[in-house]
Structure formats: C-alpha cells, structure tokens
C-alpha cells in the first residue's frame, strides 16, 4: 500500500529557495505528512476516500521535476481566442493577440505569502510544499477582453505515476471583464495526480466568466482548490463539464465580500467506467444584497460515483441574501452512486436561501413515449440523458461555445 510521505530533500530538487520559502515549504510538508492523503473518516472526504483511491491506483507517486516539452496539440479552430499554454501545470507560452497587451500582465507564478498555517485540506499543504510555477494573470482596471482566453492545460505522454503541484492566480481589475475557456488536453496514458491551487480575485464591478471542459477521457486524478474573492458588484459565472477523469475533486470557496455580487456556478457531468467526481462548494455571503446560485447535474453509469457537497454560509450582516443550490442526478445502473450533502448556515434573518437534491433513474414514461416514436430503448435513454445535461449548456450565452460544448458532451454520451 502506497504511503505517500515525501522527504524534505525533495523540496531542494524543485528549485533554489530563500530560507524563508524553504522553511515555509518544509512546514507545509510536515503538515501534510502528519495526516497524509485524507480518508473517509475526514468529514470533507467522507464520500471520496482519497487515501484508498491513491493506494488502489498508484504504486508510486514521483515528483515530475524535469520540465516536459510542449507537445504538439490542436488549437481550437471553432472560435478566435487568446491563449495560455500550461504543460503539466507549468506556463510555457501565451498569446494575447486580440488584446491591448499593456492592459495585461502574464508571468509565471508562485505564492510569496509565507505566513504559515495548517490548512484544513491537507492537499493545500502538499501544494504549498511542492508547487512549481503556474501562471499569474492580471487584467488592469477598466479593460474588457475582446476575445475569450483559452487556457490549454496540456498533460504530456511521459507522465507515469507522477504527482504535479502548481499554483495559479487570476486578478481582474475594476470594471474589467474576462472570459476564460479552460481546456484540458491529456496525452498521458499512465495514471498521474494533478494538484492545483488557484486564487481568483475580482475587483469591484468586474466580470469573470469561465467554462471548463476536458478534451478527452484520461487517466488523470485531479484535485483543485480554488479560492475566489469577489468584490462588490462583481459578477462570477462558471460552467463546469468535468468529463472522463478517473478522479476529480473540485473544492471551490467563494467569499462574497462586497454588496450586489452575483455568483453563479453550474456543472454537468456524464460519469462512467469507474469515474469518481466530487464538487464541493462553500459560498460565504459576507455582505448584504448578494445572489449566489449553484446547480450540479450528474448522469452516473457503471461503477461510477458523483458527489456534491455544497455549503452556503450567510453572515449576520448579509441581509437580503438570495442563495439557491440544486443538485440532480440520474443513476443508470445499480452500481452507480450519487451522494449529496447540502448545508445552510445562516445568521441573518432577512434572507432567501434554499437547496434541493434529487436522484433517480431515467423516467420510464419518457422512455415509453420516445419508443412509441420509433426510437430504441438505448437511443431513448441517450436522448434523455442528453436532454437532462443540456439544460446546463442551454444557459451558456455564446452560440459557438454552446455548440462546442454540446459536441463534446454528446460524444461522451454516445461513445458509451
């Protein structure tokens, strides 16, 4: 059984660091090693026993220290875009040809805040200890992007039971707007673990829209912690289509720190062939008059598992909060599983907060109806699954994006 507890010497191999940074990394490593990968006894991991998952799927976990070359991959041709290329988490190239480059800062990034703290999520400590440089993107005040920014997350063929740790940061200035298309391209045929820490800061009245999708099924085991700080009148929206990862946990924290913020998160997944996917959200309403909305839809097939843990926290001063959370799952097989843990913690008295969660099989009456129109049972089920998940896609405003996502999602459904 793999007992992953890296030695302090591994840190020296990553790079040369100041004494302060080195100590910070060592402390974080100690914190991680004191608990290791969390198992199901830890409340936040009760539905995703990572220790078990890692030991079942990995004989070893090597740090990938030698940078991999940027392998050839197909750029998206469906729509014009700016891009950033990350190879195994490391920033390798970028182009902002559709933008005024004086309004944008892009460079490799590493956390420089060495105030040490023991994180509740040990994967964050692991990331602090072993992280290589990801990217830092800053959009200055009053600048709206002309075209979408595609982040190509390329994972290379030479990965073989490696663990990758990287950090990214995005900061959007006042009244600025950025649309990001997060696109994962996976060439690795062997298992690997990708552990990302991401910071997002939205200044006053800024807009951030994000769509995330995988190009193909892969042997990736992904964990991402994302901390999002939203200032007053900012608008955040994210559509996540995490398809075809062996393991995926997205741990998303949103701090709504000013008034009149809108925070909207929607996810649609088709999980099969043993996929395990968890989305965990924590939305902290810390100021009045904000809206937040989370909607997670899963279709779960053979031996697969979907999890949604969503918490809405409303501080006493956050009056007139309007928060809604919904998760829906269709289970296609007796071996499929969906777990949902909605939580509301409310300290203000004039708020509108609710949550709902449903799971069940495909409606028999709907299958019957479609079959009376000549479709086979299998075709009817696929059409219904597609319909169930496309409800999320329908809310994407850009038609090109919508078509692009729909094709990807359909190919996943019709492949199975």
């Amino acid at each position: 059984m793999l007992d992953f507890k890296p030695n302090e010497k591994e840190i020296e191999k990553i790079g040369k660091f100041s004494i302060e940074e080195k100590n910070f990394r060592i402390e974080n490593l100690k914190n991680f090693n004191s608990v290791g990968f969390p198992n199901k006894l830890v409340e936040d991991w009760k539905f995703s026993d990572l220790r078990h998952i890692v030991s079942k799927n990995f004989a070893k976990l090597d740090l990938k220290l030698k940078p991999s070359k940027e392998e050839n991959f197909d750029f998206i041709k469906d729509f014009e875009h700016n891009y950033i290329v990350l190879v195994n988490g490391r920033l390798t190239s970028n182009s902002f040809q559709h933008e005024d480059n004086s309004q944008i800062v892009i460079n490799p990034y590493l956390n420089k805040d060495f105030s040490n703290k023991k994180e509740k999520n040990p994967l964050i400590n692991l990331n602090y200890a072993l992280s290589i440089e990801g990217f830092n993107l800053e959009v200055k005040d009053n600048y709206k992007f002309n075209k979408v920014l595609v982040i190509y997350n390329l994972f290379t063929k030479d990965l073989n039971e490696n663990i990758l740790n990287s950090q990214n940061r995005i900061k959007i200035g006042k009244n600025s707007e950025l649309h990001v298309f997060d696109y994962v391209i996976n060439k690795s045929e062997k298992n690997f673990f990708n552990n990302v820490y991401e910071d997002l800061y939205l200044a006053e009245s800024s807009v951030f829209k994000n769509i995330s999708i995988q190009k193909n099924r892969s042997n990736g085991f992904f964990h991402k912690f994302s901390k999002n700080i939203l200032s007053s009148k900012s608008n955040y929206s994210s559509f996540i289509f995490p398809l075809g990862l062996k393991f995926d946990k997205l741990d998303l924290e949103f701090n709504l720190e000013g008034e009149n913020i809108e925070c909207n998160l929607q996810a649609a997944s088709f999980l099969n062939k043993g996929d395990h996917q968890e989305i965990k959200t924590r939305v902290n309403h810390l100021a009045p008059n904000c809206k937040s909305y989370q909607k997670v839809k899963n279709v779960i097939d053979l031996d697969s598992k979907g999890v949604y843990q969503g918490k809405i926290f409303v501080k006493n001063i956050a009056q007139k909060t309007d928060a809604y959370q919904l998760s829906k799952a269709i289970l296609l097989d007796e071996s499929s599983e969906f777990d949902s843990k909605p939580e509301l913690e409310i300290y203000a008295d004039d708020v509108k907060c609710s949550h709902g969660s449903t799971s069940g099989s495909v409606e028999k009456d709907s299958i019957y109806y479609l079959m009376t129109r000549g479709l086979s049972k299998n075709e009817s089920v696929k059409l219904l699954i597609n319909g169930f998940l496309s409800e999320i896609i329908v809310s994407i405003k850009s038609k090109t994006m919508k078509n692009f996502i729909e094709q990807k999602l359909l190919s996943q459904i019709y492949e199975h």
Partner: protein
C-alpha cells in the same frame, strides 16, 4: 389491418381487459367509447406495446402476431399512439426529436432519410395546417405546452410519421371547440383507403367532426356493443347506463 380476438390484459394481477374483439380493415375509422375505468387507455397502451402488462389472446397487425414485438418496432411498422397525456421531455428540442423519429422510421421502412432543409419545409407546412406556432417547435418537447398545444403536437407527429394505424387516446379531452375542429381536420386530412384509425373518446362531440365507420362501447374490459354512428348518438342521449 388489425385483428383483436379475446384480448386480455392484466396489470399487477388485476385484469383490466377481459376479452376484447375488434377487427379493423384498411381505410376504416373505429371509435371506442366507454365510461371511466372501462379499460380504454389500457387498450391503447397494450396496442402500442407498453411494458408491465400480462397480455393474452390474439393481436394481429397486417396479418402478423404483434404481442411480442417491442414498442419501437411497432412504431417502425406503422403503429402510432397519440397520448392522452403527452409526456414532457425537458432538454429535448421538439424539432430535433421529430426529425430523429421520422428518420428512424423511414430507415426501418427502407426509405431515404430526410435532410434538414426538406424536413424544415415539411414541418412548417404541417404545423401551419394545425395552426401551430412554429416557434413552439424549437422549444423543449411538450415542456410548458398548454393542454391544447400538446394534443396538436401529437397530431402533428401523426401527420409527419404517416402511420398505417393511428390510435388516438382521448385526443379530444381538454380541447376547446376551435382546437377540436383543427385536430379533427388534421385527422381527416390523413384519412385514406390504406390507413386505419382507432379513436378513443368519451364524447360524441369529436365524432361529429371525425365520422367513424364503427362505434364500439367498452365497459368493464369488454366490448358490450358495436354499431354505427347512431350508437354514439344514442349514448349521448341515454348515457352508458342506457346501453344494456
């Protein structure tokens, strides 16, 4: 076209159809009337092949046994059921669904599949005939449709799929008089010497617009009386109690 002899059907060990006999020839339109709970919808379901029923007796369509044929194959062979309560299917676009369905049936019949342009032209024409707003067809299938819109959508599907045998399960219920006339017109426009219809209804009202060749009264799982249009008129006056 359709031979039903001593057809029995039970669900959860409860016998609903207790020996039904009907024979429908090509070109004929038969109406089935009957009180609530007499087994009318069960008959429609059993003819379409719905799961969950224990079925015995003889059921022949175009001379061939139908009982063990699955639902989709029956549809491909030209049997169409217009639902009493059409199912709402969220996320499925009505137009895309209609095209998929039509091409599936065409393919099964060995006909050439229809391309998008010809399909759009046809659907525009046929929906106009039924006074349907075309925009409705770019919406999700039956979702948020009014009762009348749902029923018209069933008749539209019938017109598009062009079945040999159409079973209309209380298509008239919930329709106002104008919608009723439109639906009846829709049915009449598809009648010809090769097509047969089985129209299930509570009221004579629909039959004033769709003239049946035969009227059957179904009560407690059996056909208790068969006749012509006069039987429907008599029912309207005396009610089902006056039949025996």
């Amino acid at each position: 076209m359709l031979e039903i002899k001593n057809l029995k059907a039970s669900i959860n060990n409860k016998e609903i159809l207790k020996g039904v006999d009907i024979s429908i020839q090509p070109g004929e339109l038969h109406a089935i009337m009957g009180p609530n709970g007499s087994g009318k919808s069960t008959l429609a379901n059993v003819l379409s092949g719905k799961d969950g029923y224990e079925v015995s007796g003889e059921l022949k369509y175009q001379g061939k046994d139908l009982i063990n044929i699955p639902i989709d194959e029956r549809a491909q062979k030209g049997i169409f059921l217009a639902f009493q309560y059409p199912t709402e299917i969220p996320g499925v676009n009505t137009n895309n669904f209609l095209k998929t369905s039509l091409n599936k049936i065409k393919k099964a019949r060995g006909e050439k599949e229809m391309d998008t342009l010809s399909f759009i032209k046809m659907i525009k024409e046929k929906s106009n005939e039924l006074g349907m707003n075309e925009n409705m067809l770019s919406r999700q299938l039956n979702v948020g449709f009014s009762g009348g819109e749902k029923k018209k959508n069933e008749i539209l599907q019938m017109k598009i799929l062009n079945p040999n045998l159409a079973i209309l399960d209380e298509t008239d219920s919930g329709l106002d008089i104008d919608a009723l006339k439109t639906v009846a017109k829709g049915v009449n426009s598809t009648r010809d010497k090769n097509k047969s219809f089985l129209v299930i209804t509570h009221y004579q009202r629909l039959l004033n617009y769709i003239k049946p060749d035969f009227v059957h009264v179904l009560a407690d799982g059996k056909i208790i009386k068969s006749g012509s249009m006069e039987l429907a008129e008599q029912l309207e006056k005396t009610g089902y109690k006056g039949i025996n």
